[in-house]
């Protein structure tokens, strides 16, 4: 089993490729890998409570760990998160990288 760190920086409501990245996460998970999706920059807009980001909810239900950069959340005034997303700082990214996770930035 490998650990994958998918770093998403694009607004899920603007990026057509976001759903493809969700599919990638699910495919990796389906092949018995651990997958973390870290939302950065405008990608955190999908983590707001009430945001209609069905792709993220699907990932969470499947077992993908969803983290959102607390700095990016503060910058955008996002104070309430969807229940399936956890706020985290960049230490989480560094920890995954230092632990050897296979990382992909979008």
């Amino acid at each position: 089993m490998s650990c994958y760190l998918l770093i998403e920086s694009r607004d899920p409501f603007e990026s057509k490729g976001f759903n493809q990245r969700c599919e990638l996460a699910l495919t990796l998970l389906g092949e018995s890998n651990a997958v973390t999706l870290f939302l950065l920059e405008n990608a955190v807009l999908g983590a707001r409570a009430g945001a209609k980001a069905a792709g993220l909810e699907k990932l969470a239900k499947a077992g993908v760990c969803l983290l959102a950069d607390e700095f990016a959340l503060r910058e955008r005034g996002v104070t309430e998160l969807a229940p399936h997303v956890t706020a985290a700082n960049l230490d989480a990214v560094i920890g995954e990288l230092a632990g050897g996770a296979k990382a992909l930035w979008n």
């Binding site: 920086s9 960049l90 230490d91 990382a103 930035w105």
Partner: protein, 134 residues
């Protein structure tokens, strides 16, 4: 101590990716994780010392009040932080990219290299993160 390699491509003052990259490097160094940076394309301008802060005439702020940050100062601060933490830090600018942009005057501690250095950095690190431009 583990070391990470980051490849940066964006020029300064353009993208949130640049400040995110600086934040990542800062977070790594504060954990004692070493960092090697390969600056490619526009990212070679991040360490240029000829960047100048400016006042903000629109908002009526002086140079001091504006306290405009310059990326080269951030690069210098990261070099200082690595020294303070005893962490490995290496910043290599792609030489051809430097020549194309005339970005020769850089912060002390930044060196010139080639994509072969990126390959070597990758071999010497536990992981590599490429932050691509769009």
């Amino acid at each position: 101590m583990p070391t990470l390699t980051l490849l940066l491509m964006d020029a300064p003052y353009e993208q949130a990716r640049t400040s995110t990259a600086f934040r990542l490097i800062d977070a790594a160094l504060r954990r004692g994780v070493g960092v090697r940076v390969f600056a490619y394309e526009g990212a070679v301008s991040l360490s240029m010392t000829s960047q100048k802060p400016h006042a903000n005439a629109v908002h009526g702020r002086t140079l001091e009040e504006e306290a405009h940050p310059t990326p080269h100062a951030w690069v210098g601060a990261l070099i200082d932080l690595a020294r303070e933490k005893g962490a490995t830090f290496d910043w290599v600018n792609c030489g051809l990219c430097v020549d194309e942009r005339g970005a020769n005057e850089v912060v002390a501690g930044v060196r010139r290299g080639s994509p072969a250095d990126f390959w070597k950095m990758n071999l010497e690190s536990v992981n590599t993160l490429v932050i691509p431009t769009r």
